[in-house]
Symmetry: C2
Subunit: 264 residues, 2 copies
DNA sequence: CGCCTATTTGACCTTTCTCAATAGATGTGG
DNA sequence: CCACATCTATTGAGAAAGGTCAAATAGGCG
């Protein structure tokens, strides 16, 4: 079922971080998977679960959320292509909740597949390990975000990260991204209160950096947002071609310029 | 040189997380290593470095610090036995600074050793991967700490974590730990200002939870500290025997009481 | 002893939180 | 299609936590 689809998002993601051999691509093309469509706020994994499958995110967003934290602290947000519980191959116990943010499509792939593919291809083995190391780097960066920025730049940084990661797998090319996030989700991710998240978003809007209406975010001033966030995508470890500046220039001739002027 | 010493701290650490076979122990006993004694505030690794050796911490503390963050955000603190840059085996590029906190002793071990040991012993391979997964779990927990606790419980939580990890490798049995940390280090770790770190420590002292004089921290009320911190050591993934409650009861009859009184 | 660094203190300011109320959106059943 | 329930976003006001600045004190060490 839709095997090509499942494989290609994940393959794009892997390829954005490491070089894939043709054997690797072939292995991935034959990856056994079960596709699931999930509704919003559905728990894919719960603290204490043990599993023998990895969850690959194909569409939508997933987040790891600490269930024991009073405000449900989110410790990472995942975008299509990501394999949020890849580490469970070596450590099958899960210690927080993996939750959908909005409707999502995921593929479940047996751990066995990754083990066998790693045995057959050293570059695959290496790529999978590198993936985990990149996720750990993102986690470190999340710590920096929470520990050393104020609310405004925290939120800006989070949006820069999500956008850049989406672009690495070919999404959000025009700086428009689907946003099933509630303001409370954003607050949980940034370690601020929902009320303050609301005021923060309003300020980002007022500054002409983005529009956020119904379920879409449109970043209208990428370089302004990145400057505010002090965003340096190096930690995402994307290979050259992918982390170049976005394809759409900061100012969209007529509209964005006038909007920008209006909002300063 | 002192091979047994280098090996045993790391082996204790590994053994606290995973079961080691006798082959594993033998491999570790023959681990090639170069021992270094380093002074305070020495950079073992710098952002951008590439290396083909892992650094094992034998004595003292190391921390990962984000050099680009204005207040030098610390993203993790390591205790003896830890292998802070183990991930570099699969991803040799380093993206923050690894700094000594106080004088330390470290061992450098070629990546090659870990690769060969992994090839020879599946349980070794698994243990090393598990180690990385445990470090990632600690990182997630650090995010929760910064994102959802106030300054007082953040500091308390950090001290609980350090103490518990020291105990897992046989140190700090009596709830006394060497503390080369400055209050600014603590502030960088907890994402607060140095001035506020000072006031926070004073409050911990005033509450009779700990003493911190010159270079030693003595936790005088473990369960109080753990309660304040909302500390649950599950995420450290220690095997049963190691994460039991500390060996020394909260109150030490004569001395501790009078000292406690002296310092309030 | 004198220097340098780390800690401590006070005063004041800024950011963020909390509580409570209102408004808007979305969804459901009749 | 409307009325109602529910969830999400927005607003205001007051309070609390934490930051900044500057000065004073205390240790450690050559």
């Amino acid at each position: 079922m839709q095997a090509g689809f499942a494989f290609s998002r994940f393959a794009d993601h892997l390829a954005s971080l490491t070089r894939l051999s043709s054997l690797d691509r072939e292995l991935l093309a034959n990856m056994p998977s079960t596709i699931s469509h999930l509704g919003a706020r559905h728990a894919v994994r719960r603290k204490g679960d043990r599993t023998d499958q990895c969850c690959l995110l194909l569409q939508g967003y997933l987040c790891w959320q600490a269930p024991e934290s009073p405000d449900g602290q989110i410790t990472s947000i995942h975008v299509p292509g990501d394999a949020p519980d890849l580490f469970a191959i070596h450590d099958p116990q899960i210690d927080s909740d993996l939750i959908t943010l909005g409707p999502t499509v995921v593929a479940f792939v047996p751990h066995r597949f990754f083990r066998e593919a790693s045995a057959l291809s050293p570059s695959m083995a290496n790529g999978l390990l590198r993936l985990q190391s990149v996720y750990a780097a993102a986690l470190r960066n999340w710590v920096v975000n929470l520990g050393s920025r104020d609310a405004l730049s925290r939120v800006a940084h989070l949006l820069c990260e999500i956008t850049t990661r989406l672009q690495a797998v070919g999404l959000a090319r025009d700086l428009r991204l689907a946003s099933p996030f509630t303001q409370s989700d954003l607050a949980s991710a940034c370690g601020i209160s929902p009320v303050h998240a609301n005021r923060t978003i309003q300020e980002l809007r007022r500054s002409g950096l983005l529009q956020w209406q119904s379920k879409t975010i449109f970043i209208t001033d990428w370089s302004g947002l990145a400057r505010l966030a002090d965003f340096d995508p190096g930690y995402l470890r994307l290979r050259k071609q992918e982390h170049e500046q976005p394809l759409v220039p900061d100012a969209i001739p007529g509209r964005s310029a006038s909007l920008g002027a209006l909002l300063t």
